[in-house]
C-alpha cells in the first residue's frame, strides 16, 4: 500500500519512551509519529516491547522516561497525562487489547456505554446511545447485535464490540494488539478491510503484529521493535518479507531444514473418537500417526485442539471411539499410564501444565519419573540422584538457570520449555505430543524446539505437532491435518498443500473448492 498521508496532520507522538521492569528494559528510548489516516504496523517478536509500549500510551503503565504527545482537537500537540486510561480515552485514544476487556454478563450496548456517562446519574440515556451506535455500525460495517450478552457473541463479534467502544468515544487513534491472533485468515481479511475504510475516514491506526504477511498487506508504514528498541521505521512499500524478518530478528534467518522423513508402521491410532462438549469438543476423529513422521494439526485456536491433546495425554476419556498405541488399546488410560507407555506430553500452557513453579529445576525434571527405581528407594525420593540427572540434562539441553536447585518459575519461557523438552524427550518416548510448542518463544528457543522435534522423529518416534502457526507446520510436518469445530480432516502430505488451501480448511471450507 502507498502512503496517502503526506500532508496529513500528526496526531500522536511518542517521544523517547523508556520503561524498565527491574533489570529488564522493556522499552529503550522509543520515539514514534503517527499521522491522521495512517495505518502503522508495530512489528516485533514476543518480548520485543510492543505491548508494553502501547500500554504506556493507554496509561496502564507509566514510562520511566519520555512523554506521549497527542493532538488536541484543532490545536497542536500537547502532553498526555501519564498513567491514566481515563486521560487517554479523553484525548481520543482507543485500545483493543489482545485479551478482550468486556464484561461477559452485560450486553454489547452496555459494554460500549460503560464509563461514558456520569456515575452519579440517576438514569442511563440509552436512546441517543443506540442511535449513535446504529449510525456508526452503518458507516463502518462493524455489525454486532447490540442487545446480545457478550457471552453469546463469537470472537469476531467481540472484537467488533471492542472497536465500536473506541469509535463511540470518537477515538482519533485506534490501537489494536495482535488483532488477528484469534481470527481465521478470512476473518482477518474482513478486519483489515474495515480498518482501511476507517483510516480513509481519517482514523489513525496502530496495529501490533508479529505476522509479516499481514503487516505488508495492510499497513502504510511499519516500525520494528527489537529488544525494546526501535530498529526501523519505514514505509511498507519499501519492505519485503525477508527484509522485515531480518529486521525483526536481528540476524539472517537460518530456517530449520527438514529432510524427508521415513515413516514406518502406524504407532498411535485414534478411531472415531468423540469427547467433550461445547466449543472445545471432538467429533468422530480419526488419526493415524506413523513412527518416524511429524504429523501437523492446523487450526484456529479453540477448535478442539486442546481436547485432542487431552485425549491423547490420557487426561480425558473419550465418550466413544478407541485409541491404540503401538497396537495396545489405551482408550481410557490415565495420564500416568500414557507416560509409562511412551508418550511425551509437551503441554500447550507450559507455565501452568508444564512445570510446578514453586519446585526446583531438578524436581521438575524428575516429576514424571519419580516412581522409577533411579529416583526412589523404599518410597523415599533419592534427591542426590535426581540432582545428578538434572545436572546432566541442564547441560545437554542448555537450560539457563542458576543451578538445579533454583525455582522453576524464575526461568524464562524458553528455558521452561527446555525443562519440559528435557523431561519428556530424554527417556526416548515413542510418541511426542507437542501442543503449541513454540508459542511465545523467541527465534532461538523456537529453532531449538524444532531441532529437538526433528531429532525425535529421526530416531523413529512419531510426533504430533499441534500449532496455529502455518509456517511452523509447513516447515516441520510430513503430513498436515486440519481441525475445525472438533472435526479433523484427513492428513495430506505437506508437499501437496499450500497456505491458501490450509486457510480455507481452517475456516471450515473443503480444500477442493480452492
Amino acid at each position: 500500500m502507498t502512503d496517502p498521508t503526506h500532508a496529513a496532520e500528526t496526531v500522536l507522538r511518542l517521544d523517547g519512551i523508556t520503561k524498565r521492569f527491574g533489570e529488564l528494559t522493556a522499552n529503550g528510548d522509543v520515539s514514534l509519529d503517527l499521522k491522521e489516516g495512517e495505518i502503522l504496523a508495530l512489528l516485533g517478536e514476543n518480548g520485543a516491547g510492543k505491548t508494553t509500549l502501547m500500554n504506556i500510551l493507554f496509561g496502564h503503565y507509566v514510562a520511566d522516561e519520555g512523554r506521549v504527545l497527542i493532538a488536541s482537537r484543532g490545536t497542536g500537540l500537547s502532553e498526555l497525562e501519564a498513567g491514566s486510561p481515563h486521560a487517554a480515552l479523553e484525548a481520543g485514544i482507543g485500545m483493543v487489547h489482545q485479551h478482550f476487556t468486556l464484561a461477559e454478563n452485560l450486553s454489547a450496548l452496555d459494554n460500549i456505554v460503560l464509563g461514558t456517562e456520569n456515575l452519579t446519574a440517576l438514569t442511563s440515556a440509552r436512546k441517543p446511545a443506540r442511535q449513535k451506535l446504529e449510525e456508526l455500525i452503518a458507516r463502518s460495517g462493524l455489525t454486532v447485535p447490540l442487545d446480545a450478552r457478550i457471552s453469546q457473541l463469537s470472537v469476531g463479534e467481540k472484537q467488533r464490540v471492542e472497536i465500536l467502544k473506541a469509535l463511540y468515544r470518537d477515538a482519533r487513534v485506534l490501537v489494536l494488539d495482535e488483532p488477528t491472533a484469534v481470527l481465521t485468515p478470512q476473518e482477518s481479511d474482513t478486519l483489515f478491510a474495515t480498518l482501511k475504510k476507517l483510516a480513509a475516514d481519517g482514523l489513525a491506526i496502530i496495529f501490533i503484529s508479529h505476522k509479516l504477511a499481514e503487516v505488508i498487506a495492510s499497513s502504510h508504514r511499519v516500525a520494528v521493535l527489537r529488544g525494546g528498541r526501535k530498529v526501523a521505521d519505514l514505509p511498507t512499500a519499501e519492505c519485503d518479507l525477508r527484509k522485515l524478518a531480518e529486521l525483526m530478528v536481528g540476524h539472517e534467518i537460518v530456517e530449520t531444514v527438514r529432510s524427508k522423513g521415513s515413516p514406518g508402521a502406524p504407532l498411535l491410532v485414534l478411531d472415531k473418537v468423540t469427547a467433550g462438549s461445547g466449543r472445545d469438543a471432538l467429533y468422530d476423529v480419526d488419526l493415524t500417526l506413523m513412527s518416524g513422521e511429524i504429523l501437523g494439526i492446523a487450526g484456529v485456536s479453540g477448535n478442539g485442539q486442546t481436547m485432542l491433546a487431552r485425549v491423547i495425554s490420557g487426561l480425558k476419556t473419550p465418550a466413544s471411539g478407541t485409541m491404540t498405541l503401538a497396537g495396545n488399546n489405551e482408550t481410557g488410560a490415565n495420564a500416568r499410564k500414557m507416560i509409562d507407555e511412551g508418550l511425551a506430553r509437551i503441554p500447550e500452557d507450559r507455565h501452568h501444565d508444564g512445570i510446578v513453579g514453586a519446585m526446583s529445576v531438578s524436581e521438575n525434571l524428575a516429576i514424571e519419573s519419580i516412581r522409577k527405581p533411579q529416583n526412589q528407594r523404599f518410597g523415599l525420593l533419592r534427591f542426590s540422584a535426581m540432582r545428578e540427572t538434572a545436572r546432566r540434562l541442564i547441560n545437554a539441553y542448555d537450560i539457563r538457570c542458576q543451578g538445579e536447585d533454583s525455582q522453576a518459575r524464575l526461568l524464562s519461557g524458553g528455558n521452561i520449555q527446555k525443562i519440559v523438552l528435557a523431561r519428556t524427550l530424554d527417556p526416548e518416548p515413542k510418541v511426542v505430543l507437542a501442543a503449541q510448542p513454540s508459542r511465545g518463544l523467541d527465534v532461538g528457543a523456537t529453532s531449538d524446539v524444532h531441532k529437538r522435534l526433528l531429532a525425535a522423529r529421526d530416531r523413529g518416534a512419531g510426533v504430533i505437532l499441534i500449532s496455529e502457526d502455518l509456517d511452523e507446520l509447513m516447515r516441520l510436518s510430513d503430513r498436515i491435518a486440519v481441525i475445525h469445530r472438533g472435526r479433523l480432516s484427513a492428513a495430506d502430505p505437506t508437499e501437496s498443500l499450500d497456505r491458501g488451501t490450509l486457510g480455507l480448511r481452517m475456516a471450515g471450507q473443503s480444500g477442493e473448492a480452492a
Partner: protein, 314 residues
Amino acid sequence: MIEIIDILFSANFWAAALRIATPLIFGVIGALICERAGVLNLGIEGIFTAGAMAGWMAVWLGAGLWGGVLVAAFAGAVFGLIHAILTVPLGLSQHVSGIGVTLFATSLSYFIYRTALPDVSSPPRIDAFQPLDIPVLSELPFIGPALFQQTPLTFLALFLVLATAYVLYRTPLGLAIQAVGDNPAAVESQGLSVYAIRMGTVVAGSAIMALGGAFLTMSAFDAFFFGMVNGRGWICIALTVFASWRPGKALIGALLFGAFDAFQVRLQTEVGSFIPGQVFLMMPYILSIAALIVVARRADYPRALLVPYFKGQR
C-alpha cells in the same frame, strides 16, 4: 394437619415471617452488592454485631432512633472500609480479611459494651421503633396486619430492595458495579477506577448490612446482649447464592427463611410435646441448605468474585 393450615393462613404468622426476615433482607442486600462488585464480605457477621451495638448505644446515649440508624450505618461503613482496603488495593485474601473483620468487629463491640456498662446484669432497654399504624392500609383484612403493622426499619429494608434493583439495572453506576464483578479490565479500559468502584461498593454494602444488626437492637429485642446476631450474617451469605445475586430473589429468599423460622416456632407449640425443641430449631437451616443445593448448582457466580485486580497486570 388442620393446625398447620391454620398457621399458614394466619396474618399473625406472615407478620412474624416478615419481621424475622427484615435483618436478613438488609444483610443479603449488603452482601449481594459487595459480591456483585467482586468482593466477598465475610465481615458480615461482625458488621451485624457492630451495627447492633452502635445503633443501640447511640439511642441509649440520647441520639434518637434515626440518629441511631445513622450511627449503625456509619459503624458498618468503617468496618467495610477496613475490609475494602485490605482486599481491593492490597489484594489480600477476601476470606481471611472477612473473618478477621468479623472477629475484630464482634470483639470490639463487646469490649465497648462491657467498658461502658461494667456492672449491669440485665441489658438496659431503649425505647425502640414501634409498628407504624398506617391508616386505611393497616385495616385491610389479612394483608393489613401482615404487611402494614411493621416498624419503619422493615419498610426501609423493602425500599432498599427496590432501590438496589434500580441502581444495579438502570443506572450507569450499577452497570459499572456489574462489570467490575465480571471483568475489572473492562471497567479500567473504559477509564473508570476499579479500586474506587469496588471500595465504594463494599463500604455502601457494609453500611446496609449494619442496618440489619441495628434492627435487632432497635426494633426486635430493644436491647443489646452477647451472641444476639447468632449466625444471621452467615445465613445472608448463603442467601446471596440462593438469590443468584439478584435483589428480587434475595427478598424472596429472606422471606422464605423468615417463614420457615416463624413456622417452626408455631409448630413447636402445636406438636412440641413429643418432638424435642432442637429439631424445630434446626428446621429453617436444613430447609435453607436443601434450597441452596437445588439453586446453587446452577448459580451464575460473578466471574471476578474473589479475584483481586492489580492495575497494569493482566
